[in-house]
């Protein structure tokens, strides 16, 4: 048995009883794009920054705004309004860039404003109803919060796909 297996076993022993006692809680960060409230798992977020200047890039779909410099790294910037086909809006003091790790790469998304950190029991998350348009498979599920708010939980990994961005040669 390798060291890794032992560690895994110990971890399992530590976490399992807890899981049994309390129901599984999912931690999310909520934000608004257009009229709707969305959320992504807190662990997929690298950081949240105020808007900074970006550089346009040719030959990409309109929701790819361009690239910008985050402490010496060049990151793509995705406009979620355009991605979700919501009418465009100006950047204001509430606008934020959320930097998330997708397939090992940092990508930033423009959102209208942050709402709150959300803790929600897993059982309160339901699969997306058929009425939702979910062709890209970007919706993980729909969560109902205690105060009655409904949030759409996004599948971070499916938010952008290379084959949709860079045209085939």
């Amino acid at each position: 048995m390798g060291l890794g297996d032992i560690v895994k076993q110990q971890q399992k022993a530590l976490t399992e009883p807890q899981e049994k006692q309390t129901e599984e809680i999912v931690q999310l960060v909520g934000f608004v794009v257009g009229e709707e409230e969305f959320a992504v798992p807190i662990l997929s977020i690298q950081e949240i920054i105020k808007p900074i200047e970006w550089t346009r890039v040719p030959f990409v779909p309109d929701y790819v705004l361009g690239v910008f410099n985050l402490r010496g790294n060049v990151l793509p910037l995705i406009d979620l309004r355009k991605k979700f086909k919501v009418p465009a809006a100006d950047i204001d003091e509430n606008t934020r860039f959320i930097v998330m790790k997708i397939k090992g790469e940092d990508v930033a998304f423009v959102i209208d404003r942050l709402t709150s950190a959300i803790r929600i029991p897993k059982k309160n998350i339901l699969p997306p109803p058929d009425t939702y348009s979910n062709e890209d498979d970007i919706i993980e599920g729909v969560g109902r919060l205690d105060d009655g708010r409904i949030i759409t939980i996004l599948k971070v990994d499916n938010l952008i796909k290379r084959e949709e961005i860079v045209p085939e040669k």
Partner: protein, 784 residues
């Protein structure tokens, strides 16, 4: 087991390095068969490989090298003269040795079933025996054994070649023996060496016995006793030892990955440096004349110099002499010339010129192609040359030298040259160009046709070249390195190919240009020149836009069309054109502005965006903004498509909006006082222009972005954002660079006016003013 692998790896690296050198030496040897130094050198290579090979149990390799050694041994003793026939056999055996070594590298053993060494061994033996001295050579071999320590042949060691010996591999006894030998070498005048050799040998043996018994204390006495001698053996030994150690510590092998990491860090440093310079410039503007500026300037300059030096130093670590590639050509030329029955001399110059390792790896194949071509197509057969009054032996020059940030590799022959008319004819036959195109073509352009895919000039197809793929491959390879190819040829006299390749790939010099409002960095190595033209310089030939530049006709495209950038700037009287060159192609690219030259660090756009057409990556500028770097090869392809479907003259019209009547013009009034706005409005209404009003700088800036404004009247003192700041902000946008800004204010001191000019105001009107005066100023600025 790992030790063994490491040993094997070291052996292979060393062996391949030696063989590379040996190839060169062998060719030289053929020309100077009496050069004993060369024979000795080659002998040592065979000998070393044999020694290490037998240690690693490579029997086949050992057997082969053993027989090679026998032949070379005779040659170095002057008992055998190297004729071309013998050289053929030796070269054959070197090839076999290479093949076996390659097999070892790939498979870890020397079975190498496809290499049959027996015929070669027989031939080598025949050479040795052919002279009828088989027995004596064996005797000598035995004698030599007595002077050998481990793998070393003591006879071979002199002070001059101690560098060839890897001291770290020697046992203490071996090292001792080597040192003894060196001391002898130092103390013995060369002429006497031979006479004294035997005597000394005996002495040495005695001394050795003696030495084993001396204790350190005794040693001192021995040294003292020996003081009468010019140099005592101990001292000399110490000296040589030091020399040896020093010599060995001068090089280390480093993993390329570590160098890449270092290069990345330096890249970051270069970015920080650029940023620092930018900040310094800003500060200088603001605090002109302040004392601390001088100090800051010194710090910035010294950091800038050190960073550049550091970058060059690391770049140099990655550099290898191009001789590494050139070395294999003497052999190639010799073999080819013999095969084709031609006489060819190869002259190599500048083999010390250094290039980045990654480029060295890529450059070999194209050069092989070009040299093959030169021998096959360029150099004529001896009879033909004689008939033309040329020397029978053709010459090929292979030359490398630095030119700015580029390295130039020149391949020149004195053969039959290229006939531009023949090339054109052929190209028309093959449907590569039309007869009309051929007519407009200069000779230089015609030469470039040989790089077109599917073009082959050789009348007959030989095994050497003329398969119609060669030059195309050359072009592709050179383009990969962002290089440029130039061809020059005089029929009957010869041809010169010039390859210009950037020195390194990670940090590059770039020309920054603006197309509309977007900035791009174009690798300077591909910028042939920049020119300023007027629209009348653009011609349309067969529905395509071209630029006539001296004797060349270049395809012309607008960069904004290539990258599908929306046109918002009105074209000006002058157009700025970047002449881009890649491989054998040149195009003219219209941009809207030249920003300048800058050193940039190439960064990837990441997994999601990399590989975008026309874009090689991005760089971070001094102001922290990202600028895209143009991928010249890919841009050329895009430009070709654009060139086929869009006329530059049409494209220039797109941005021109017709403004004829005064109602087509919009003037914005920015003032916090409603009263003042009203006065201005009343003054301007008679002109018939449209009027927009803003209460302060921020509102004005927002309105400006939404409306198409042709001139602005700006008050200086306003809440939130004053007039100076507003003007400054507006001038940051490329598209508002030429927007007339007219300050209308009661602040009338000279300092105020100067400040106005500094921030980019075009005119300065002081209140109160007359209606007519304001109208005149506005009219003049609108061009009404």
């Amino acid at each position: 087991m790992d030790d063994m692998m490491e040993l094997l790896e070291d052996f292979l690296v060393e062996a391949f390095e030696m063989i590379e050198e040996m190839d060169q030496d062998l060719i030289e040897l053929e020309n100077n068969p009496d050069d004993l130094d060369l024979v000795n050198k080659i002998f040592r290579v065979a000998h070393t490989i044999k020694g290490s090979g037998s240690f690693l149990n490579f029997d086949k390799l050992t057997r082969l090298t053993h027989h090679m050694e026998a032949v070379l041994d005779k040659a170095r003793k002057g008992e055998l003269r190297i004729t071309p026939e013998i050289m053929d056999v030796i070269l054959e055996s070197v090839d076999a040795m290479k093949a076996i070594l390659e097999y070892i590298r790939d498979n870890g053993n020397d079975e190498a079933p496809e290499v049959d060494i027996e015929p070669i061994v027989k031939k080598l033996d025949a050479i040795v025996n052919g002279e009828g001295v088989g027995s004596s050579s064996e005797e000598k071999e035995e004698k030599k054994e007595s002077k050998k320590i481990g793998n070393l042949n003591l006879d071979e060691i002199t002070v001059d070649n101690i560098d060839d010996i890897d001291v770290s591999q020697l046992s203490p006894e071996e090292l001792d023996a080597v040192l003894e030998r060196l001391v002898e070498d130092i103390n013995t005048p060369p002429e006497e060496e031979e006479k004294e050799e035997k005597k000394e040998e005996e002495e040495k043996k005695e001394e050795k016995e003696e030495k084993k018994e001396v204790t350190p204390a005794d040693k001192k006495e021995v040294a003292k006793a020996a003081e009468t001698k010019p140099v005592s053996k101990e001292e000399a030994k110490q000296k040589v030892k030091k020399q040896l150690i020093n010599a060995k510590e001068q090089t280390i092998r480093v993993d390329v990955k570590r160098l890449d990491q270092l290069m990345n860090l330096i890249g970051e440093l270069v970015l920080a440096k650029n940023r620092l310079i930018k900040i310094y410039n800003d500060v200088e503007e603001r605090y002109e004349g302040e004392k601390f500026l001088e100090e800051l300037n010194q710090v910035v300059s010294s950091i800038s110099i050190v960073t550049t030096d550091l970058q060059i130093a690391v770049m140099k670590i990655r550099m290898l002499p191009i001789g590494k590639v050139f070395n294999k050509f003497p052999r190639l030329v010799r073999d080819l010339a013999r095969e084709l029955g031609k006489k060819v001399r190869l002259i190599i110059e500048g083999e010390d010129t250094e290039l980045d390792k990654s480029i060295i790896e890529e450059i070999g194949d194209p050069l092989v192609h070009m040299i093959r071509n030169a021998i096959d197509h360029g150099i004529e057969p001896p009879e033909e040359r004689k008939a033309k009054g040329k020397p029978e032996e053709g010459t090929i020059w292979l030359r490398a030298y630095n030119e700015g940030n580029m390295i130039v590799i020149e391949i020149k022959d004195d053969g039959r040259g290229i006939d531009p008319e023949a090339i054109k004819k052929k190209a028309i036959e093959k449907g590569i160009i039309t007869p009309q195109e051929a007519e407009n073509m200069s000779d230089k352009e015609a030469f470039m046709l040989i790089f077109k895919p599917g073009f082959s000039t050789a009348e007959k197809v030989t095994s050497v070249s003329g398969r119609g793929v060669g030059m195309d491959v050359v072009k592709t390879n050179i383009e990969k390195l962002n290089g440029i190819i130039e061809v020059d040829s005089v029929p009957g006299k010869g041809t010169t190919f010039k390859l210009k390749i950037p020195l390194t790939l990670a940090i590059i010099q770039a020309l920054l240009v603006a197309s509309q409002e977007d900035l791009f960095a174009v690798p300077l190595s591909n910028v042939i020149e920049t020119v300023r033209i007027v629209e009348e310089d653009i011609y349309t030939i067969e529905g395509k836009s071209v630029l006539k530049l001296r004797d060349e006709v270049l395809p012309l495209v607008n960069m904004a069309d290539v990258f599908e950038i929306e046109k918002i700037l009105e074209p000006e009287k002058y157009l700025y054109v970047v002449i881009l060159g890649l491989g054998a192609t040149k195009i003219g690219l219209i941009v809207d502005r030249f920003i300048g030259q800058e050193e940039i660090v190439i960064k990837s756009l990441g997994e999601f965006l990399k590989g975008l057409p026309g874009i090689a990556g991005a760089t971070i500028r001094g102001d922290g903004r990202v600028t895209l770097i143009v991928d010249v090869a890919s841009l050329m392809k895009l430009a070709k498509e654009t060139h086929n479907k869009k006329l530059v003259t049409d494209s220039l019209k797109e941005a021109k909006k017709k403004k004829e009547k005064p109602e087509d013009y919009v003037v914005m009034i920015v003032d916090d006082s409603a009263m003042d706005r009203k006065i201005m409005r009343q003054a301007l209404e008679p002109l018939g222009v449209q009027i927009v009003e803003a209460k302060d700088g921020i509102e004005a800036l927002n309105l400006l972005k939404q409306n198409d404004v042709d001139a602005m009247l700006i008050d200086i003192e306003m809440p939130r954002m004053d007039g100076y700041t507003l003007a400054q902000e507006i001038r940051k946008y490329n598209k508002f660079r030429k927007l007339p800004l007219i300050a209308v204010t009661s602040r009338a001191t000279k300092a105020d006016r100067v400040r106005g000019v500094e921030v980019g105001m075009n005119e300065y009107i002081t209140k109160p003013y007359t209606k007519e005066y304001l109208q005149n100023v506005v009219r003049r600025n609108l061009g009404l």
